[in-house]
């Protein structure tokens, strides 16, 4: 593919126009999941298990069914009992039987909030009353929440058919450890032998929720002929279609999904929870069924990302050359296997050019909601530990932490622990930009500290479809299969306008339903601007080629004699003939005479997305008496390849950084002894509020990704990787305390302060 991303040539890419869906979103007109309706719809609600682990002895729905106004009640008996089937889907490996069991428990409930039944009724009040009339008999089983406890001998076993994969010989007894994986290069023992300084420590992180502000919602209807209509808010309407088909045994051609506007996802809306139930309820009731989660449902019933325990050991020579790095990571998968253990291991040290690395990981189930993807799944967890250890190493060596990283920085040709050799990457550029930033050398006051940390994410490509169609008046319509979660309609229209050579305002982008455009993977993995952008760009380029042919036809000269410049066809040279330029609009007007409608739809499976790197600098002030931390200043530097719409690129970085700050300081799932989540709401699940934060300065470094026509790298995930270690390292700078556990909440910091004062300090 030809690279057309040279900054000097760009007119539209790199500017900051208003997004096409903007006005609807500032006036309240945009239709999100819970705003969608269907004629004659009724209300669907679910019954959730009060127990974290129990056998379902019986479910009696007869009383509920008799309640006036109840139109249908379903249990697992109404959902196909599908066999175990593993597949790799957009967001990672997935077992569809597990997905089915997660939507509706069959024999056992595996976490508090696990769905056991659902009702459809004429209104909320009747539906609520019906839920109270469903009689479920449970045999309560011992439960386990913590990852270490789940791995311990004698722990309650969640799945008696789960045997640890990846160990030889194959185990014969069931375990909560679903999988063991290892990535190794070189010889860490030899590496540590060469080290003058070694840092070794164990860290823990808490599970955190994506906490999108819009709760899951959908409305679905199945007709007598089996055709299904679904409107839902998700990161992929093709994903909703595929999973609903799979779980209910419906042919894909019989399902059409319209994507409502999505109120945030961050990975959490890449799986189904409600849609199959809504369809099953519609089948039972013969009515369209609307389902909407409450905020409590979202916390108890949907997937956060894993918490984990991370042991890290890093060694270096006196001059700061890292000789070996090693980690052992245990991640909570929740009730079913599938924590992001692979990327956690792969990303931990991906920022460094290391000869000897050994990473070992465990995927562990426990009685919590099944984890879902969350921004750079796995990487923030392992990087918190790794980047904290690197910082402690720098202190031991008496080296500037950025210099230490520069000395060991991954560059083109560096080999990663998972074997891949880095191509053109911007990590050194990012580190140098951070070091040169005035923030790095600004003065600090009492109880104030500065921390730096860096992060890596692969970014992905994958399957996308994009179309560009020229309208009769010379304007253009862009269609893609990627739900717009943060301004991608704007960047798609910008790339098309750039190629067509017409103003951005002449191009409108929309996201049609699953029957109206080719398959497109979820909006996730920082893939949309890269992969879908590639499809749109290629479609626009195909249109330009066609426009040249049409102009040639109008001028009656050979197509080779036509060039496309600034939205007009012009003769290639003097001997091509003395024609006045033909603007796009003039060619569009003659479309019928020159071969009919002008447009192109291109489907790609984009490969080789360019990895992204970031470096964050955080200033913090700690109140040693209360343990309260205040973020004073925050700068996030990132290689973005090429920013199509810089404002939305900055927004991704600022938003990701702040999610990381919340992860670092206050966010956590709090379980009581009964295995119930104690803080299932925004009051006590404490995400950052506006007054907690300063401005977040996003510094865009552009090292173009040569595999994308405009040089795009994914940007959405890298920014959540560095913050936890950056905050932790800043706290260490402020009050000289080494923190090892997330969140670094006020009680934890105060306890660490007291422990440090006490003789034989130990956290």
């Amino acid at each position: 593919m030809t690279f057309i991303g040279n900054k000097s040539d760009l007119r539209v890419v790199g500017t900051r126009p208003v997004r096409p869906d903007g006005v609807d979103k500032v006036t309240g007109r945009a239709v999100y999941g819970a705003d969608a309706t269907m004629p004659g719809q009724i209300i669907g609600k679910v019954l959730r298990s009060p127990h974290p682990h129990a056998k379902i002895i019986s479910i009696d729905t007869s009383k509920a069914e008799k309640l006036p106004g109840v139109k249908g009640v379903i249990t697992s008996a109404d959902i196909p009992n599908i066999p175990s089937e593993e597949a790799f889907v957009g967001e990672g490996p997935m077992n569809f039987r597990d997905l089915s069991l997660n939507c509706m428990a069959r024999d056992k409930v595996l976490y508090e909030g696990h769905v056991v039944a659902a009702v459809a009724a004429i209104n909320d009040a009747v539906a609520d009353a019906a839920l109270k009339l469903i009689d479920v008999k449970y045999e309560i089983l011992p439960h386990v929440i913590d990852v270490e406890e789940a791995m311990a001998p004698g722990a309650p076993i969640l799945h008696d058919n789960l045997f640890t994969a990846g160990v030889t010989p194959k185990p014969t007894t069931a375990s909560n450890v679903a999988k063991q994986v290892r990535f190794t290069i070189g010889d860490v023992e030899a590496g540590f032998a060469q080290a003058d300084v070694i840092v070794e420590q164990t860290y823990t992180t808490a599970p955190v929720h994506q906490a999108y502000i819009e709760p899951h919602a959908c409305v679905a209807a199945i007709a007598a002929d089996g055709q299904v209509l679904i409107t839902a808010s998700s990161q992929g309407h093709f994903m909703i279609r595929a999973y609903t088909a799979k779980l209910l045994g419906i042919e894909i051609a019989n399902i059409r999904v319209t994507n409502a506007e999505i109120g945030g996802g961050f990975g959490g809306k890449t799986v189904v929870y409600l849609e199959p139930l809504a369809v099953a309820l519609s089948k039972k009731s013969g009515r369209p069924v609307k389902m909407t989660m409450t905020r409590e449902d979202v916390f108890r019933g949907t997937g956060p990302t894993s918490g984990g325990t991370i042991w890290v050991k890093v060694g270096a020579t006196k001059d700061g050359k890292i000789t070996a790095a090693q980690t052992v990571i245990k991640l909570q998968a929740g009730a079913f296997p599938g924590s992001p253990i692979n990327p956690a291991l792969m990303c931990a040290f991906a920022m460094y050019d290391l000869a000897n690395v050994d990473t070992l990981g465990y995927d562990v189930v426990s009685n919590r909601p099944k984890v879902a993807a969350y921004r750079a799944p796995g990487a923030p967890i392992s990087s918190f530990a790794a980047e904290s250890a690197i910082d402690d190493l720098a202190r031991k060596l008496g080296m500037d932490p950025i210099d230490l990283r520069l000395k060991n920085a991954a560059k083109q040709g560096s080999k990663t622990v998972y074997g891949v050799t880095h191509g053109v990457i911007g990590y050194e550029e990012v580190l140098n930009a951070a070091k040169a930033h005035p923030h790095w050398t600004a003065p600090l006051g009492k109880n104030q500290g500065r921390g730096v940390a860096t992060g890596f994410w692969f970014n992905i490509g994958g399957e996308s479809t994009g179309g560009v169609f020229i309208n009769e008046d010379g304007t253009a319509s862009v269609v893609t299969g990627s739900p717009d979660i943060g301004g991608s309609r704007a960047s798609m229209a910008m790339m098309a306008a750039e190629v067509l050579g017409i103003p951005y305002e002449k191009v409108r982008a929309v996201i049609p339903d699953t029957a109206s455009i080719g398959f497109t993977h979820v909006t996730g993995g920082s893939r949309v601007t890269y992969a879908t952008g590639m499809a749109v760009t290629q479609a626009a380029q195909a249109v330009v080629e066609d426009l040249k042919k049409r102009a040639a036809m109008i001028w009656d000269i050979s197509p080779e004699a036509v060039e496309w410049k600034d939205g007009e066809a012009v003769p290639a040279g003097a001997n091509a003939g003395g024609f006045d330029p033909l603007p796009l609009a003039a060619i569009a007007l003659k479309a019928a005479k020159t071969g009919g409608p002008i447009g192109s739809e291109i489907s790609v499976n984009a490969q080789g997305a360019g990895p992204g790197f970031g470096a964050h600098i955080c200033d913090i002030e700690v109140d040693p008496e209360t343990g309260h931390s205040t973020i004073l200043r925050y700068t996030a530097v990132q290689d973005v390849g090429r920013a199509i719409h810089p404002s939305y690129v900055e927004g991704q970085i600022q938003g990701g950084a702040v999610q990381g700050i919340g992860w670092a300081l206050n966010e956590e799932y709090i379980y009581n002894k009964k295995g119930h989540m104690d803080n299932a709401g925004f009051l006590d699940y404490r995400i950052p509020v506006a007054s907690d934060l300063p401005m977040i300065e996003a510094v865009l470094v552009e090292v173009p990704n040569t595999r994308h026509p405009f040089g795009v790298r994914g940007v959405g995930e890298v920014p959540i990787v560095p913050p936890m270690a950056a905050v932790r390292n800043a706290i260490r700078g402020a009050i000289d305390l080494e923190m090892f556990h997330l969140p670094m909440s006020p009680p934890r910091i105060r306890a660490a302060v007291d422990a440090a004062k006490a003789p034989k300090a130990a956290e």
Partner: protein, 82 residues
Amino acid sequence: MPTVVISGSSCRDFTHGESEFEVAATTFRQLIRELEQRFPGLGEHVEEYMAIAIDGVIYQDAYHAPLKPNSEIVLIPKIGAG
């Protein structure tokens, strides 16, 4: 012939520990068939769960991806994301 490098444990289970070997293949598709022949199950495993990096560039699904005679091919887990 292109060299195949295995860094993760999930594939080594199929190769009985072998972590570097040559294969006669000129495309991703041929590679998968070669692997299946040499190490029964590995080809299928790669097909379902693995991506390959050809000289540093990651291909998640791409039968047509060309392999050069001196290419280094690394088998890695497919990457998803949020």
